[in-house]
């Protein structure tokens, strides 16, 4: 599980994240909603160990910047950051070596590539792939090490409808496998059917923490607009 306690991140004079607490439980899809500039990406990057911050973040009880924690989580960045001169297959081999995966990794990545329809591109240089393809590759690589927690930063941006469906299925499967999944997004409609817990962020703070059960027939999207436009307070 991912546990964030009193996370604060300040960039010079701007407080991007202001003392937030959140928890992504195993077997749940936790979503982080918020308008642009709400602090979602900063939160995800802090959890991924990329930023300096105040507060405490643990992943399955290990501090997030430790080697133990890094072995347990997968991270899909907002913009795919891949090596131009490596092929998808070589990326996978690099990940296999980095995470010291068993021999079966080749079959595993083959099935992930096939599922995301990029297997036929496995020997092309990344610089020759389209933006959507690189996004799919980014997801495939994060899943190869079978992480116990997965961080998705805007995972649906740039994907075609079929890939979005596949991505939602993957999220469901991760959830069914007991993994803790944290997704930062602002595309509420698409993710509406699969989330279990939602945190709505605005101006660096969590303005609402709600589970699907607590929603009691209310619409998450309407609630989101009410909260981020300052009309109502969160009522659970």
């Amino acid at each position: 599980m991912i546990l964030v306690t009193n996370l604060t991140k300040q960039y010079k004079k701007i407080k991007a994240v202001d003392g937030i607490n959140l928890c992504a439980n195993p077997g749940e899809v936790t979503i982080l909603l918020g308008p642009n500039g709400a602090g979602k990406s900063t939160t995800i990057k802090s959890i991924a160990g990329l930023l300096k911050f105040e507060g405490e973040i643990t992943i399955w009880n290990h501090l997030n910047k430790t080697l133990e924690a890094k072995k347990l989580f997968g991270y899909i960045p907002e913009t795919p950051a891949l090596y131009d001169l490596l092929t998808p297959w070589e990326h996978a081999e690099f990940i296999a070596k980095a995470y010291k995966l068993e021999d079966g990794w080749k079959e595993k990545i083959k099935s992930i590539f096939e599922r995301l329809e990029i297997f036929d591109k496995k020997d092309k240089y990344v610089r020759e792939l389209s933006k959507g393809m690189t996004q799919k590759l980014s997801v495939a690589l994060a899943l190869l090490s079978e992480p116990k927690s997965v961080l998705f930063d805007e995972p649906l941006v740039g994907l075609d409808p079929k890939a979005i469906n596949e991505m939602l299925k993957i999220l469901e499967e991760l959830k069914a496998d007991g993994k803790s999944v944290l997704v930062s997004t602002h595309i509420i409609d698409t993710i509406n059917d699969i989330w279990d817990r939602a945190y709505i962020m605005d101006k660096g703070k969590i303005v609402c923490d709600i589970t699907r059960d607590q929603l009691q027939g209310r619409d998450l999207k309407t609630m989101f607009f009410e909260l981020t436009e300052g009309v109502k307070e969160c009522k659970q």
């Binding site: 990329l50 490596l86 092929t87 690099f94």
Partner: protein, 519 residues
Amino acid sequence: MQAIMYLIRKQYINRIKRAFSSIVSIIITILGVLGFGFSFVMAFTMKRPIVDRIASETILAGILLMIGVILYNSFLSRDSGILTMADANFLFTGPFEKKTVLAYILISTAPASILTGFFMCFYLPYLLGPVLTIPKFLVVLFIISLLFGCIYLSYYYLYVVDADKLGLKKKIQKIFLAFLGILVLVFVILLIDTGFNLKATAQKFFTHSWYNWVPLFGWSKWAISSLLAGNILRGFIPATALLVTTNGVLCLALYHVKSDFYEKTLEDSVNLQKLLDDVKTSGSADVRSVAKLKTKVSSVRFNQGAAAIYSRQMLENNKLNLVSRCRGIFLGLFYVAFGVIFGFEYRFVLVMIGFGALSMSLNDSWHRDFKKPYAFLIPASSFSKVIYSVLPGIIKTVISGGFSIIVGGLAYRINPVDLLSYLLIFISFVILFIFAEVLTYRLIGSGSSIIAVTFMRMFFVIGTCIPAGIVLIIIAVVSKGIPNMIMTASCMLAINLASSALLAYLSRGIFEEIEVMDN
């Protein structure tokens, strides 16, 4: 560590593989390698004039100091990053200890140093004369690689430490400037002592034994000049030992650094990515990607039609700080000073200024508008769009090169009519060269390798110089000898303008074919 080594190895192997990925690439790569190889073999087999030891030592020391100062100044004043976005993403979030990430940086330094060293050493056989044999050349390459190793490692170390101790880099920059100040002060004292004889001062300054003790630059010069003079025991070995030890100390310091540099590196990797994207797009890096922008508001009067492209580029230019905008002028003035100090002829300085200005024009961003849908959709002729896209680059290169040519002309007391002729010739070739670049882009697009782009540029530039050459021969035959300079220059300008217009016309498809935008 195994993963890191795999990553480095694969990237280098794929770079080589890419050069052989298609028949055209294979031909271009073979031609490029043969060209390089031929120049290299020629450098050692042709009869080279014996160069005066003091002169060669002075030139070598001057070049080493200049490159070192430019590199350090650029590193210390800009945050262009040390890792790419992909590196930052995989290495910082993957199961790697900080020491492994630092080891990756350390290992990557070696090939970078050797490659930079090789490019720098390329001209040394001509500069140093027959005393530089092939075995000695290899040792010189090793020494210069050690120098670049020290420069890169010290920069990485400062960068990483600065991530935790903000402001350290600025302090080091001040110390570096103070160090340069001391060197300048000593130079000025010697200048007064030699009765303001620049050449004698430079020789005294760089060949004096105390200069051997100047960290890095003095040591490198000491090692090379001792090697060439056969002074191995008391010159080459101690100087090389100093460089090797410094590299070792810096490696250890960098490997054991405790700072948390991930956030800053990730932030700066965006800048580095922009540079790499520029290289990917046009085969060269654009200064605008990482240049510091002015804080005050800039404005420009927007022209209509295709000229709006020109206005947009000028607006972008106006937002750059003075140093970024005047790099060409600084380089040109440096060549003038270099020529005056070392007693080179004005024509040599002129060639250097022209070469420098044209090389810098490769880093302009005219290609950026080629991919923009808004430029594609402007309701104007494609020919005019090509012209207006390129115009800011031409103006900038003409101004920076022209200014240096005039300053050089004044310093060398060149006849005003001759100076005007030189200016016209320079302008004509700037226009021609830039349009040759555009046609290269038109024909082979942006996705090609740097070698391919460079080769095609050279090919077109040589090709487009032919009409001017033919006209020159005709004029010489008709007037029974070369007529006056101003007439020749005017004819060359006219011919090169006509050739450029033809190149621009042939390139107009850039704004007509949508696939160009898919690159």
